[in-house]
């Protein structure tokens, strides 16, 4: 194989990895479906979206960055890990959580967990796309 075709192959490979990672972040489970792992993608989508839905139903906190509270940056990044649903909840539905709700703390935990689980799925898709995992 010539050097040029190897370079083209490497770029195509990298492009596929980036696409898989983006799909995985944007829609829970979509990265695995893109890579041909349809059943696994469906299971992951169900689990992540179920956790998000439960957190939303409990009026948990959908974290946003608060000035002078640096840990909210970490929490916001974790919550955004769930992808487009975070932005749909915040900007389309105007949802932010209700601190006086009895399930607020639990709901916040479920929402954070959904985001962190989806971030793990992004990493898993990177491993699958790069051939480190089958």
């Amino acid at each position: 194989m010539t050097q040029l075709s190897e370079e083209i192959g490497a770029r195509a490979h990298a492009g596929g990895l980036v696409r898989a990672a983006l799909f995985a972040w944007a829609v829970p489970g979509a990265g695995h479906v893109y890579l041909g792992k349809k059943r696994r993608g469906a299971v992951f989508a169900t689990l992540v979206l179920a956790a998000l839905w439960i957190g939303w139903s409990l009026d948990g906190n959908l974290y946003a960055v608060v000035t002078n509270r640096p840990l909210t940056l970490l929490a916001t990044l974790a919550s955004m890990g769930v992808g487009l649903p975070y932005f749909g909840l915040r900007y389309l539905l105007g949802y932010a959580g209700e601190i006086t709700a009895p399930g607020y703390e639990y709901g916040s935990a479920f929402i954070l967990t959904a985001g962190l689980m989806n971030l793990l799925l992004v990493l898993d898709c990177c491993d699958l796309a790069s051939g480190h995992k089958e």
Partner: protein, 63 residues
């Protein structure tokens, strides 16, 4: 949505255990084994922590 602590803890443990079983294991028997280990660990750990915290008062002092 009901706020029953044990129910929510159980649901959380179910979701997280299933997630990692599918993420870290490829065959069904291995997934079931890991799921059970994680689920029992989470539930038992949660109940144990609850009992360890039991002697301590909940919330800030009155007044």
């Amino acid at each position: 949505m009901p706020v029953d602590h044990v129910l929510l803890m159980t649901v959380y443990a179910l979701i997280v255990s299933t997630f990692f079983a599918f993420l870290w294991r490829a065959t069904p028997p291995d997934r079931v084994r890991l799921f059970l280990q994680l689920f029992v660990g989470l539930m038992a750990g949660g109940i144990l922590l609850a009992w360890l915290m039991y002697p301590f008062p909940a919330g800030p002092p009155v007044g």
